[in-house]
Symmetry: C2
Subunit: 216 residues, 2 copies
């Protein structure tokens, strides 16, 4: 039962959209309920009519976020393509999602930094679904002898880490475009994706790629 909303704006959806932007920009504690309501052009009391409290609203968005990534990544497993191609597609899918949902990267980073303060079991299930999908690709590649065995979560870090940092650092790079060397301001995202793809694939090749250690 959906009651009788959706006559034009669907307030609930507007609240969620405004909240996602606010949470991404300010974090959970920095986000202000008044600002969310204002941005959604909704009365603050209305917000509390739809959601029990700020935390419930936040969790709802987090859940959607990870479910979106999980679904995007899961869909490409059916292609039956080679492990290499599937892995590249996995990386592209994560990047696409970050592109089409610009608030995901900051929220993801923040939730990690927060020690997962607002995670519930449902959200964690979605998160680990992403890793499981990756694990499937990796074990397929290992079976075929294309990949050497590596812990899926480590590979996940190598993929998600750079992509999240790149996406989330856009405002900083833009602001300090000229005040920094190395033209950090003008890096095409395609170059980042391509580099993550080639780095990940190269790092998975069966022949150990001369790892060196060093302590100062």
């Amino acid at each position: 039962m959906v009651s009788k909303r959706a006559i034009r704006g669907d307030t609930r959806a507007r609240i969620v959209a405004a909240a996602a932007e606010e949470f991404a920009r300010c974090g959970f504690d920095g986000a202000k309920v008044d600002r969310i309501a204002a941005r959604a052009a909704v009365n603050k009391a209305m917000l509390y009519y739809h959601f029990a409290n700020k935390a419930a609203l936040y969790r709802d968005i987090l859940r959607t976020m990870f479910a979106t990534v999980a679904a995007a990544v899961d869909s490409l497993r059916e292609s039956g393509a080679s492990p290499q191609a599937q892995l590249a597609a996995f990386i592209a899918a994560v990047n696409d999602t970050a592109l089409t949902h610009p608030h995901f990267p900051p929220m993801w980073l923040r939730e990690i930094a927060d020690g997962g303060r607002h995670l519930d079991d449902a959200i964690v299930r979605e998160m680990s679904s992403v890793v499981s999908t990756l694990a499937g690709i990796l074990s397929l590649g290992a079976q075929r002898g294309d990949f050497r065995p590596v812990h899926p979560f480590i590979v996940q870090l190598g993929i998600v880490g750079p992509l999240l940092l790149f996406a989330a650092s856009a405002p900083i790079r833009e602001r300090y475009r000229d005040r920094t060397p190395q033209q950090i301001g003008s890096i095409p995202r395609e170059a980042v994706v391509a580099q993550v793809q080639s780095m990940t694939l190269a790092g998975l090749r069966p022949e150990p790629a001369h790892p060196v250690r060093r302590r100062r």
Copy 2:
């Protein structure tokens, strides 16, 4: 002139230490001045005697943080070792710093997610110093024909991204140790560092490592 502190506790240092922990755990907005003062066993008014306000205290810590990383990374350039070895040492140095200063990773992630809200020019200088050091290693390798030319910042993302995520996600992995598949709880950090090293080096090899693209 250092006045006459340091008789035993050095209040200022205690404030900074307590604040670093609080900022790492809660973020700028989540961090409470009362809690910082309490944790430092210092009166709250004392805190405002040493620092103009919460933001100034925060910036002071950020500055130290990036200066520490910049120094650690810079020192290993003098070794005159091979580009490969220097790069591996760079990665190890970043990891070591994250290990010895556990509040750095969350703070770093948060500042990125925050869009660099609290950065000032001095801090940005330290940050770009790290990238410059990496750029030096990369261009040395490129001169010798050991590395193919890649934008330093992209390589930086590939190094710092995984390491920060791994370090900062420790509490989450610990909490959901058994509720998740893939034994995410028990991954040795050495494995992560080794994988980042081999992935980075492999991704820099002159021969292009069959990059694949894909859009769903």
